[in-house]
C-alpha cells in the first residue's frame, strides 16, 4: 500500500556482502533458452535447427550443446544455402557442425539457382522469396519437420516484437499474426494438427548486445567476416560492397582496400560492410555501444518496402 505522503525511499541497493549471488541476465536468458530447446525436443516428432552460420546461430548451437549435455544434440541442423553465401561462411559452417557432433543438412533451391536467380536480375524481394523462403518451405516439407528452431530475436525488427516463442504456421508454412496462440508463463502449447508446424525462437528475449556478450563470455567461435580487416570493397557513397559472386561493378568502379567488417551475415550481393577497426569481440561490443543505427540497416532486403519483414514472414520466412 502507498506510503502516507510521497516519502518513498528507494530500497538500498544489494551489497555483495549481504546479498546472495544474483544470476546475471545472461545466465537467466541461457536457462530460459535451454528450457525451450528441451521442451521442443521432447514434444515434437521431428524438430530441426535452422543454422544460418551467423552469430545468433552460433549462440543457438552452443545452447543446444548445453541443453542435451552429456548427450548429443537430438536433432539435425539445416542450412538453406542460397548459393550466394560468402565462401568463408561455408567452411565455417562445416567445421562448426562437425565440432558440435551434429548432423548437417544443406538445402538449395537448385531449380532457381540453375535458372540464374539473383538479386540483380530479379529484385531483392523476389530473389529472397525463391532462394530463401521457397527453399526453406521445400526443405521442411521434404524432411517432414514439424518444428524448426530459428535464431531470430524480438529486438531485431518491429514486427518481431510480437512474435511468439512458438510461432504457429499453417500447413502452407505461413504465419498469420492475428492467429497466434497466447503464451503464458513458460508453458508452451505444442499441439498441432498433421501438416502444421511451428517455428521456435529460443533467443526471443536476447538483444544484439546479449548475443555478443555471450559469445565473449563463452568464447564461441564466429565467422571471421565479423572482425575488421583490410578487405577489397567497392565504395558506393556510404555503402561498402564486398566482392563476391554476382557482383556487377559499375563502369569506372575500382575495388579498394578498406578496413571493414560485416555486422550481420546475409547473402553477399545484399550485405553491405561497415568501416570498422573492431578486430576483437570486446572491440565489437565497444563499437556497438557507439552505434547510432540498428543492425539490419545495412541489410538491403528490409528496405524494399515498409513492413517488408512482416510480408516475408506471412509468406513463410522466419
Amino acid at each position: 500500500m502507498p506510503a502516507a505522503e510521497s516519502e518513498i525511499s528507494l530500497p538500498p541497493p544489494p551489497t555483495s556482502a549481504t546479498a546472495p549471488p544474483r544470476l546475471s541476465h545472461l545466465r537467466l536468458l541461457e536457462a530460459e533458452s535451454i528450457h525451450i530447446l528441451r521442451e521442443v525436443a521432447s514434444e515434437f516428432e521431428r524438430p530441426v535447427m535452422l543454422y544460418s552460420i551467423g552469430k545468433d546461430s552460433s549462440v543457438m548451437l552452443r545452447l543446444a550443446q548445453k541443453a542435451f549435455y552429456p548427450g548429443p544434440i537430438p536433432f539435425p541442423l539445416l542450412h538453406v544455402d542460397t548459393g550466394f553465401k560468402f565462401a568463408e561462411m561455408l567452411t565455417f559452417r562445416d567445421a562448426m557442425a562437425r565440432s558440435a557432433g551434429a548432423e548437417l543438412l544443406v538445402w538449395r533451391n537448385e531449380g532457381a539457382i540453375a535458372a540464374g536467380t539473383n538479386p540483380i536480375v530479379l529484385d531483392t524481394k523476389r530473389c529472397c522469396g525463391l532462394l530463401k523462403t521457397q527453399a526453406l518451405l521445400d526443405a521442411l516439407r521434404h524432411y517432414n519437420f514439424d518444428a524448426a528452431f530459428g535464431g531470430a530475436r524480438r529486438d531485431e525488427e518491429k514486427s518481431r516484437a510480437k512474435e511468439r516463442i512458438y510461432s504457429f504456421r499453417d500447413s502452407a508454412g505461413q504465419w498469420d499474426p492475428k492467429n497466434q496462440r497466447p503464451e503464458l508463463w513458460n508453458l508452451y502449447n505444442a499441439r498441432i494438427h498433421p501438416g502444421e508446424s511451428i517455428r521456435v525462437f529460443p533467443l526471443s528475449n536476447w538483444t544484439e548486445m546479449d548475443v555478443w556478450q555471450y559469445i565473449h563470455e563463452e568464447k564461441i567461435p564466429v565467422v571471421d567476416l565479423y572482425f575488421a580487416k583490410e578487405r577489397l570493397m567497392y565504395v558506393r557513397g556510404d555503402a561498402l560492397l564486398p566482392i563476391e559472386q554476382a557482383f556487377v561493378a559499375r563502369p569506372g568502379e575500382q575495388p579498394q582496400l578498406v578496413k571493414s567488417r560485416l555486422r550481420s551475415l546475409g547473402c553477399s550481393p545484399c550485405t553491405g560492410a561497415i568501416r570498422s577497426d573492431a578486430d576483437t569481440i570486446p572491440a565489437i561490443i565497444a563499437e556497438l555501444l557507439s552505434f547510432r543505427s540498428s543492425e539490419r540497416a545495412n541489410r538491403t532486403i528490409d528496405h524494399d518496402q515498409e513492413g517488408s519483414m512482416e510480408i516475408k514472414k506471412r509468406e513463410g520466412y522466419f
Binding site: 541443453a67 549435455y69 496462440r181 503464458l184 528475449n205
Partner: protein
C-alpha cells in the same frame, strides 16, 4: 545506443558491469490513449535504447505538435495495426540501464485486453498500471490491477500520467492515489493476494518523472519511474523456497549415464540432498548436478541443469523431483482460477488437456463455481466462461499430478488448458485449492450422491464407452488389447466367433450395447490368419499390414482418438 564511448570509457569495466546486471520483467497496460506507448517510447528514448535510424524514421510523423517526437511510434508494430492505428497484441521491448536489463511486456488496453494482459503479467515481476490524470480511474486500470493481483505480480507501479494537462496538481494526484489504493484493497480481498503499490505522478510526453525527476512537481520527492524499476527486488529469486524440479527429459547417451534434465522451478539443490520423485513417491539422493560447464556444488531457480540420482528409479518426463522434507501435493482434482482465452467458450465435459510444468494430462471441468465481474468484483453464477472471462472451476484429472498452489509457487501452480480438438490455448489456470489424492480416497466427486455418470467414468478411465471391432491374427489383437490396457483403458474382449453368438446373433449386439452403456471399451474380435488387420470404430475403418505390429497398434490408437472414444492423447501413452 546506450552510454556513448567517451575517452574515459573502458570496455573491460563495461563488461564487468554487464556481468553483474540482472533482469527485471514488467508488464504495462492502460486504457486506450492513457499514454502507454508514449511512456514506453520515452523510457526507451531517455535511456538511449533506440537507434538514430529508428528515431529518424518517425520524425515528423504522428499526432504530436510539430518538432515534438511522437514517442508512441517507436513501439508501433504490425502492419495491420498501423493501418488501424492501434496495437492489438502483446509486444516485447528490451532496454537496459547500468544496473539492470529490462523486458517489457507491452499489452494493449483494448480488444482482447484481458487475454493479453494476463499473458503479459504471467511472466512479470512488476506491473506498470497507467492512469490518465485528466480522466481518473477507468475500468481498464481496475482490470489491470485485478489481473496483476490474480497473477501474483508482486509490485504494482501506478503511473499517474498527463500531469501536465492538469497543471501538475498535487491534490488531483492524491485523490487518484486514494481512490486507487482503496480499489487495490478490494482486489486483494477478492484474489487473496495483496499488491505492493507505489504511485508516481508523471508526464510521458514531457518526460517528467519517467527517467529523470521532474522539476515541475517539487511536491513529489519520490524517485522516478525508472529509478523504482531499477530498485525493485526481482521475484525470480526463489532460492529459499521449497525445491521443485519438473523433469523435462531423461538424458541417457550411453549405459553409464542417466540424468534428468529440467529447469529448477524454485528452491535450491545440492549433491547429497534427499529427494522424492512425485507422483510415485520414491526417494533417492542427488549424486551430481551436471552442466556443460562442469558439475555444480549447488543449483537454484531458475537454472536449467541435469540431475543424476544415486539409484535407478523409474522417472520420466512430467515427474516432479522435490526435496524429501518439502513434498508437493499429489492431486487428481483441483480448484483453479481460470482466465478464458479462446473464442470458443468453456464447455463442461468438453475434452481439454492440461499442460502443467512439463506434463500434459487430460482434464475435465466438472463445475464452474462462479464467474468474477471485474467491474464490481462480485461473484456470479455461470454456465460458461467466454473469452476474457475470469472464474473459478473444479477440474478432474485422469491421473494424479504433483503440484503446489499458485499462491505459493508460480511455477508448479500454473497451467494452461488446451482444447483437445482445435489445439488452441483455451485458458490460463491458477490452482487455488488441491487436496491430496491419497487422503481424498473415493471422495473425488464428493457431493454427488446419485448414480455414477458416463462423464465421471470417462473422467476416470480416459475413454467413453465404445466398440472397437478387430479382425486379424491373434497375436496382433493381443498386442492391441495389451497396449490399451497399458494406457489405462477399461476394455472387455468379446470373441465374436464364439458359438453362443453364432447361434444367437442378436446376443452379441445386446452384450456389446450393455458394455458401452457401462462406459467400457468393447473389443469385438474375429481371429484369423490373414496378413492384414481390419479395425473399425464407429463409421471409420482401417485395413492395416499385420506384419508391422508397431504401426498397426499406433494406428488403432489414432483411430480411437479420432472417433473421440479414447481421450488421453499423449505420445507417452502409446
Amino acid at each position: 545506443m546506450a552510454a556513448l564511448t567517451t575517452p574515459s570509457f573502458s570496455i573491460d569495466e563495461f563488461l564487468q558491469q554487464e556481468r553483474e546486471k540482472d533482469l527485471l520483467r514488467f508488464s504495462t497496460a492502460g486504457s486506450v490513449d492513457d499514454g502507454k506507448s508514449t511512456l514506453i517510447g520515452r523510457l526507451l528514448y531517455d535511456t538511449q535504447s533506440v537507434y538514430e535510424d529508428q528515431v529518424r524514421s518517425i520524425q515528423g510523423k504522428g499526432t504530436t505538435a510539430p518538432g515534438q517526437i511522437d514517442f508512441a511510434l517507436l513501439t508501433d508494430g504490425l502492419r495491420a495495426e498501423r493501418e488501424q492505428g492501434i496495437t492489438i497484441d502483446v509486444a516485447y521491448r528490451y532496454f537496459s540501464t547500468a544496473r539492470r536489463k529490462f523486458i517489457i511486456a507491452d499489452t494493449p488496453g483494448h480488444e482482447q485486453y484481458t487475454r493479453n494482459m494476463v499473458t503479459g503479467a504471467s511472466t512479470a515481476d512488476a506491473a506498470v498500471v497507467l492512469i490518465d490524470a485528466s480522466k481518473g480511474v477507468l475500468l481498464q486500470s481496475r482490470r489491470h490491477a485485478y489481473i496483476a493481483s490474480l497473477l501474483r505480480v508482486r509490485h504494482v507501479l501506478v503511473a499517474v500520467n498527463k500531469m501536465d494537462l492538469i497543471g501538475y496538481d498535487q491534490a488531483a494526484f492524491r485523490a487518484i492515489e486514494r481512490d486507487f489504493s482503496l480499489l487495490l484493497e478490494q482486489i486483494a480481498a477478492d484474489t487473496g493476494s495483496p499488491v505492493e503499490s507505489i504511485f508516481v505522478p508523471v508526464s510521458a510526453l514531457a518526460g517528467d518523472n519517467i527517467v529523470h525527476r521532474s522539476k515541475a512537481m517539487l511536491w513529489y520527492s519520490g524517485p522516478s519511474l525508472l529509478e523504482l524499476l531499477e530498485a525493485l527486488p526481482s521475484s525470480l529469486d526463489t532460492r529459499a523456497e521449497p525445491f521443485r524440479f519438473p523433469v523435462q527429459r531423461v538424458l541417457r547417451p550411453d549405459h553409464s549415464f542417466r540424468g534428468f534434465a529440467g529447469q529448477i522451478a524454485s528452491g535450491t539443490v545440492r549433491p547429497g540432498d534427499r529427494v522424492t520423485v512425485l507422483p510415485s513417491g520414491r526417494s533417492a539422493e542427488v549424486s551430481r548436478i551436471v552442466t556443460y560447464d562442469g558439475d555444480l556444488a549447488e543449483a537454484y531457480a531458475p537454472l536449467s541443469v541435469t540431475l543424476v540420482l544415486n539409484r535407478e528409479l523409474d522417472i520420466s518426463r512430467g515427474d516432479l523431483i522435490v526435496l524429501a522434507d518439502a513434498p508437493a501435493t499429489v492431486a487428481k482434482s483441483v480448484k483453479a482460477a481460470l482466465v478464458w482465452m479462446d473464442r470458443r467458450p468453456l464447455e463442461l465435459h468438453r475434452r481439454y488437456l492440461l499442460k502443467h510444468t512439463s506434463q500434459t494430462a487430460p482434464a475435465f471441468l466438472s463445475s464452474i463455481e462462479h464467474r468474477t465481474n471485474i467491474g464490481t468484483f462480485s461473484h456470479e453464477p455461470a454456465e460458461t466462461l467466454e473469452m476474457n472471462g475470469i472464474g473459478v472451476v473444479t477440474l478432474n484429472l485422469l491421473r494424479p499430478i504433483a503440484l503446489d498452489l499458485y499462491g505459493e509457487n508460480r511455477g508448479t501452480g500454473a497451467f494452461i488448458l488446451i482444447d483437445a480438438e482445435t489445439n488452441s490455448t483455451a485458458a490460463a489456470g491458477m490452482i487455488t485449492t488441491a487436496s491430496s489424492y491419497e487422503t481424498e480416497g473415493s471422495h473425488i466427486h464428493a457431493g454427488a450422491w446419485g448414480p455414477v455418470t458416463a462423464g465421471e467414468r470417462a473422467a476416470r478411465w480416459g475413454h467413453r464407452g465404445g466398440v472397437l471391432e478387430l479382425s486379424g491374427p491373434t497375436e496382433l489383437i493381443d498386442a492391441i488389447e495389451r497396449s490399451l490396457f497399458a494406457a489405462g483403458a477399461i476394455s472387455n474382449r468379446i470373441e465374436a466367433d464364439d458359438d453362443a453368438f453364432l447361434l444367437h446373433p442378436s446376443l452379441l449386439e445386446i452384450v456389446t450395447e450393455m458394455q458401452i452403456q457401462s462406459g467400457l471399451l468393447a473389443l469385438v474380435v474375429h481371429e484369423n490368419d490373414s496378413g492384414t488387420l481390419m479395425a473399425r470404430a464407429e463409421d471409420r475403418q482401417l485395413t492395416l499390414d499385420a506384419n508391422d505390429p508397431l504401426k498397426a497398434v499406433s494406428a488403432v490408437h489414432q483411430l480411437l482418438h479420432s472417433t473421440g472414444i479414447l481421450i488421453f492423447f499423449e505420445k507417452a501413452d502409446l
